[in-house]
Symmetry: C2
Subunit: 335 residues, 2 copies
C-alpha cells in the first residue's frame, strides 16, 4: 500500500507530466511506426515486434519535457524523440546478441526469435536510419551530440564485455560503464532541445548534467531490480546480469564483506553462468546481510538527488517540477 509520501507525490507529479506530453508521445510512436513501415519487409516485422513490446519510453518523454521547458514551439521534438528511442532500441537488440538474452520485456528477444543474423541487421538498420533522420534536419551540432552518445554506448558495451566474468571490478569501473552505456543517452535526450535554438543554449549544460545523473540513478535501480525483482514483473530472469558474468554495483559493494567461500561461490556463478553452487535466494540474503542493497540504493538516491538539484536551476514551471520529480519515479519503479 502506498502512503502519500513526498516521494509518492513527486512521482505522481511526473505521472501527470507524462499525461501532459502523451499527445506528443503518441506522435513519436506514429513517427517510429511510419519509419519502420518504410523499411524492407523483414525490418517492418522485426521492428514492429521490438517496438510493440513497449518499454517505458522514458528517453523520448524526457526529450519532450525538456523541449517544453526551454519553450520550443516547433515539430522537431517529435523527430528527435523518435530518433532517440530508435537509437536506444538499436543498442538493445545488439545487446541481446551480446548477452545471449532470450527474454526482453517479458517476450522472446529478437535474436532468439529471428536469430542473430536478422537481429544484427535490424540494429544496423535502426542505427543508420536514426542517422538519416538527423541528417534530414541539417543540424550538425545535434548530429555530433548524437554520434558522440552512440559511440559512448558502444564503447561502454565493449568495456563491459571486456570485464565479463571478472570479480575484481571496481565501483569506478562500474560507474564508468553505466555512464557510457546508459547515462550519456539520457544526457543527449535532455540536452538536444537546448540546441533547437541559440536562445535555449544556456540550458544545454544543466540539462545534460541532469540527464547524466538521472541516467546513472536509472542504471543502478535497473541493476538492483535484476537482483531483487520478480521474473514476471521484470520480463526476464532474476540475476540475469550475474548469469552473464556481469557484476553490478550491489555485488561489487557486497564482495569485500562476504566470507571467502561466499566470494568463491559468487565467482563460480559469474564464471559458469548458472546457479549450481548457490541458490538465488541465498545470494539475495547475503546481499541483504552485507547491507549492499541498501548501500547501492543510497548511491542511486544520491545521483537522483543530484539530478533534482540540477533541475531546480532550470526556469520554474510545470516541466521543471516534472523533471525534478523524475528521479523519484525512477527510484520507485518495480520493473
Amino acid at each position: 500500500m502506498r502512503t502519500q509520501s513526498p516521494q509518492g507525490s513527486r512521482a505522481a507529479l511526473l505521472r501527470q507530466a507524462m499525461v501532459s506530453v502523451a499527445p506528443r508521445l503518441k506522435l513519436v510512436e506514429t513517427f517510429i511506426a511510419k519509419e519502420l513501415q518504410a523499411g524492407p519487409e523483414p525490418i517492418q516485422q522485426t521492428g514492429s515486434y521490438v517496438f510493440s513490446a513497449g518499454g517505458k519510453r522514458l528517453r523520448p518523454t524526457l526529450l519532450l519535457l525538456a523541449s517544453r521547458l526551454v519553450g520550443y514551439q516547433g515539430e522537431k521534438d517529435v523527430r528527435y524523440a523518435a530518433l532517440i528511442e530508435m537509437l536506444h532500441t538499436a543498442t538493445l537488440v545488439h545487446d541481446d546478441i551480446i548477452d545471449h538474452a532470450s527474454l526482453r520485456r517479458g517476450r522472446a528477444s529478437a535474436n532468439s526469435r529471428w536469430g542473430n543474423q536478422l537481429t544484427v541487421l535490424v540494429g544496423d538498420w535502426l542505427y543508420t536510419r536514426s542517422m538519416e533522420l538527423a541528417l534530414e534536419v541539417d543540424d550538425l551540432e545535434i548530429m555530433r551530440l548524437l554520434s558522440r552518445a552512440t559511440m559512448q554506448m558502444i564503447e561502454g558495451e565493449v568495456l563491459g564485455l571486456s570485464l565479463k566474468g571478472r570479480t575484481d571490478i571496481t565501483v569506478e569501473q562500474y560507474l564508468e560503464i553505466a555512464r557510457r552505456k546508459t547515462a550519456e543517452l539520457f544526457a543527449a535526450a535532455c540536452a538536444i532541445p537546448a540546441l533547437f535554438s541559440p536562445a535555449f543554449a544556456a540550458f544545454q549544460s544543466i540539462l545534460a548534467d541532469y540527464g547524466r545523473n538521472l541516467g546513472l540513478c536509472f542504471q543502478i535501480v535497473d541493476d538492483l531490480l535484476d537482483l531483487t525483482g520478480d521474473q514476471d514483473q521484470l520480463g526476464k530472469p532474476v540475476f540475469s546480469d550475474l548469469r552473464e558474468g556481469k557484476l553490478t554495483l550491489p555485488l561489487i559493494l557486497a564482495l569485500p564483506k562476504l566470507a571467502p567461500e561466499q566470494r568463491r561461490a559468487v565467482a563460480e556463478v559469474a564464471r559458469e553462468g548458472s546457479f549450481t553452487a548457490l541458490r538465488p535466494q541465498e545470494l539475495q540474503e547475503w546481499l541483504v546481510q552485507a547491507g549492499a542493497l541498501a548501500e547501492a540504493r543510497d548511491v542511486a538516491l544520491s545521483f537522483g538527488e543530484k539530478a533534482a538539484t540540477l533541475a531546480s536551476q532550470l526556469p520554474p514551471g510545470f516541466e521543471r517540477d516534472a523533471l525534478a520529480a523524475a528521479p523519484w519515479f525512477v527510484l520507485e519503479r518495480d520493473h
Copy 2:
C-alpha cells in the same frame, strides 16, 4: 602465362596507377591504424586483426584516383578513403556473423575468433566512428551520400537474407541485391571527391554511375570466383555462397537449363548447407555444360564495359585511363 593482350595492358595500366597512389594509400592505412589505436583495447585488437588481413583496398584506391582526376589538391581524400574502407569493413564483420563464416581472407573470421559478441560491437564501432569522421569535416552532402550508401548495404543484406535458401530468385532480384550490397559503396567512393568543391560537381553523376557499374562487375566476378576459384587463393571454401543458401548469378542462369533431378540436387545443397547429394566438382561441370559461367562472365563484362565507357567521358589524363582500365583488373582477378 599471360600474353600482352589489350586487357592485360589495361590491367597493367591500373597497376601503375595503384603504384602512383600508393603513397596516399599508405596515409590511408596510417589514418585507419591511428583511429583503431584511439579505440578501447578490445577494438584495437580485433580492429587491427581485421584490417591487417589485407584485402585489395579497391574502394579507397578508387576514391584517391577520382580525387586526383577532379583535380583536388587537399587532404580530405585520405580521410574519406579511410572512412570508406572502415564502412566496408564494418559490413564485412557483421556479414560474417550473418553468414556464420569461419574464414575471411584466408584466416579465421573475427566472429569465429572472438565470438559474435565482440564482433557485433566492432562493426558498430566502425560504423559509428566512420560517421564521426565525416562529422568532423562539416560536409552534410557527403554525409548524406555516405549514410544513403550505408543504408543500401544494410537493406541489400536484409533482402539477401530474406531470399536465402530460395531457388526461385530472379536475375533482377540478384542484381538488385548486388547493387545495394556492393555497387552503391563503389558509387559513393568514386563520387565523393566530386563533392570536395562546387567546381567538381559536374563529375558527380558520371563518377557515381561509373562506380555503380564497376561495383556490379566486381560482385559478379566475386560470385563467379566463389564457384570456380581455389580455396587457398580465395581464403574461404569454394561454393560458400550456396552452402549459405545463396544462389548467385551463374546458378540462377543455369537452373532453367538443368534437368529436374539436377535442380533438386542444387536445391538440396542450398537447403542443407552442405554437399551431400552432390560433389562440388559435379556442380561445376553442370555449370560449364549449361554455359552459365560464360554467360555470367558476359554480364560482368557488359557492366565493366559500361563503366569503361562512362570513364571515357571524364577529363583525359592518367587517372581517367586508370579508371577506364579498372574493370579489366576486376575481371582478371583470381581471388
